[in-house]
């Protein structure tokens, strides 16, 4: 990673500390790269060059005065366009919020500002984070930097693509059913979904509140540890925020060396898995075995119900969360409405795209009178069984190894059937239902040159262990340091 814009976060921080580069030079390099590749990648919904350069200059001034705030000071970090940054656009890639400007900062934004990071642009995603390809954006799809005719994955496709294309040193995304790990796999970068409750959701536009979690995209596992350190922790403004102990994740990487007991869930290696992905994951498993890890086959018997459980719970919560978009206080207001009630119907009809409407309809249906017990309540009970499967497995093993996505990046427009698209999240959604931490790291390429992701799933709030297991693999392999030819 020789180019300035392709440095890892920790390398960039070291270069800033050694005064080999300035924050201004680093930010200028990222801006120049963004301008050069955006016409092909379209990872950004918006960026504010002058604002980023002003933040970089402030960082340089702090450094000159000996007041550096830590490893993120002066590092350009871009945000998925569902995370609030005061005074900047916040669109959720929806026409509904096309002109919305955030009146406040998300907690993660506040934390990164305090850490001195340069808050760069806002990244494209599936509308309201609903999708697996970033094709559902009202502002057009993002291209995969490895092949711009293919999807970057979703819903945080802009966050994964921007990093893979060198348009930021690190990015943030959100993961409701795999929306960090799946695009990380398809774009060849590291994506971490923390345990539910570890990172505050305050200032994150809500999709499915019991599943959503903010997390980092980075080039290395060490970078993920550094960024997680900055954003994790209890927040009184989020009632679901957990009072977890926050260790020094980076220090723990050096301390925890295994060998570990690793579980292979047999249900994740069956029908529908691309053979090249299966082979790459098997090689990764062989690596851990060679390192002295004990590899055990485990069973998660309710895996086949994850997809259905997820789409009931996620759409039910989404239909409730998205009821706030009524055209009254903010967001798109229809000019066609006949009266106050019609204002709701028309504003929502004009503001939301097809996938969001589909999920609102499904969510409203499963919550409606007469169907609540049959769908929503039953799904919540099956969720208990799915979570119990994972906790049972952790009686035997420290972490689980699976593929991240059943398929590599597919062509834009290739999957028009919603059910076929929903199946792309088959290996990631169980982790959200159980609230566990999961990470995707690059583990190879297909014969067509498309990245393959390895998913590691850890125990609740045991991110230090999960990161150490992932770090052991990436230290011995160089997949994550490959760059696309753009």
């Amino acid at each position: 990673m020789s180019s300035l814009h392709y440095q890892s976060l920790t390398d960039a921080a070291a270069a800033l500390d050694a005064k080999r580069i300035s924050a201004t030079e680093l930010t200028q390099a990222v801006i120049a790269r963004t301008k050069a590749v955006e016409p092909r990648v379209h990872a950004f919904n918006s960026f504010d060059e002058a604002d980023a350069l002003a933040q970089a200059a402030a960082s340089d001034a702090r450094r000159a005065a000996g007041q550096v705030r830590g490893p993120l000071d002066g590092i350009p970090i871009a945000f998925k366009d569902v995370i609030a940054v005061e005074g900047q656009p916040l669109t959720a890639s929806s026409k509904m919020l096309r002109n919305f400007v955030s009146p406040y900062d998300a907690t993660v934004t506040t934390k990164l500002k305090r850490a001195g990071a340069v808050l760069w642009g806002r990244l494209n995603c599936d509308e309201f984070a609903m999708g697996s390809s970033t094709e559902n954006s009202a502002f057009g799809p993002t291209g995969n930097p490895w092949d711009v005719t293919r999807v970057p994955g979703g819903s945080s496709g802009g966050s994964a693509a921007a990093l893979a294309a060198g348009e930021a040193i690190a990015t943030l995304g959100s993961d409701t059913g795999g929306s960090i790990r799946q695009p990380a796999a398809l774009c060849g970068v590291v994506g971490l979904k923390p345990t539910y409750g570890l990172v505050s959701r305050y200032g994150l536009i809500a999709f499915a509140s019991s599943l959503d979690q903010i997390g980092p995209f980075t080039h290395t596992v060490e970078d993920a540890a550094v960024l997680l350190q900055a954003i994790a922790g209890h927040d009184e403004r989020d009632s679901t925020s957990y009072r977890a102990e926050i260790p020094d994740y980076r220090a723990e990487l050096a301390r925890r060396r295994g060998p570990w007991k690793l579980g292979i869930p047999r249900e994740y290696f069956g029908e529908g898995l691309d053979p090249e992905i299966g082979a790459a994951v098997e090689k990764a498993i062989a690596f851990y075995r060679e390192q002295g890890c004990e590899i055990r086959e485990v069973s998660l018997p309710h895996t086949k119900y994850c997809l259905d459980t997820y789409y009931i719970i996620a759409t039910a919560e989404a239909s409730s969360n998205l009821a706030r978009y009524d055209g009254v206080r903010y967001g798109h207001r229809s000019a066609q409405a006949k009266d106050a009630v019609d204002l709701y119907f028309q504003s929502r009809a004009e503001g939301f795209g097809p996938e969001v409407k589909r999920r609102i309809i499904l969510g409203t249906y499963v919550l409606s009178s007469g169907y609540y017990d049959a769908y929503y309540l039953r799904a919540q009970k099956v969720r208990t069984l799915i979570r119990q499967d994972f906790l049972n497995a952790y009686q035997e093993v420290d972490a689980l190894i699976t593929p991240t996505s059943p398929v590599p990046a597919f062509k834009l427009g290739e999957k028009s059937d919603p059910l076929a698209m929903y199946l792309c999240d088959i290996y990631t959604i169980g982790v959200n239902l159980a609230g566990l931490p999961g990470i995707s790291v690059p583990c190879g390429f297909t014969s067509a040159g498309l990245p393959i992701g390895l998913q590691l799933v850890g125990q609740p709030f045991q991110e230090a262990n999960l990161l150490a297991v992932a770090h052991a693999y990436t230290q011995a392999h160089a997949w994550h340091s490959q760059q696309p030819k753009l």
């Binding site: 919305f100 009266d339 609740p460």
Partner: protein
């Protein structure tokens, strides 16, 4: 779980969402497929299983009832589609 019958007009009304005839036809077919898939949850024995609303136990969080500054009026109104004299303007509700 009985075979799903999606009355798209009724559900769209509950969702306060105006749909075109094309959308109605398309969603009814697509969601029919999804609901058919979801039906397999009916085969799971959930007798005596407690529902999980959150992955981890969540209890009520109480804070002292002390006034603190909220969003300033101008910031709260910044994104209002129409406003007048520090209020949001909406179409007439009562004739």
């Amino acid at each position: 779980m009985s075979a799903p019958q999606l009355n798209i007009d009724h559900v769209a009304k509950l969702a306060r969402l105006a749909l075109t005839p094309t959308e109605k036809a398309q969603f009814a077919q697509q969601l029919g497929d999804v609901l058919h898939h979801i039906e397999q949850l009916g085969r799971v024995d959930v007798t005596g299983i407690e529902p999980t609303a959150h992955a981890f136990a969540v209890t009520n969080v109480w804070q002292d009832d002390e006034p603190r500054p909220g969003l300033p009026v101008e910031a709260a109104l910044r994104n209002a589609p129409a406003q007048r004299e520090n209020m949001i303007v909406v179409p007439k509700v009562v004739e």
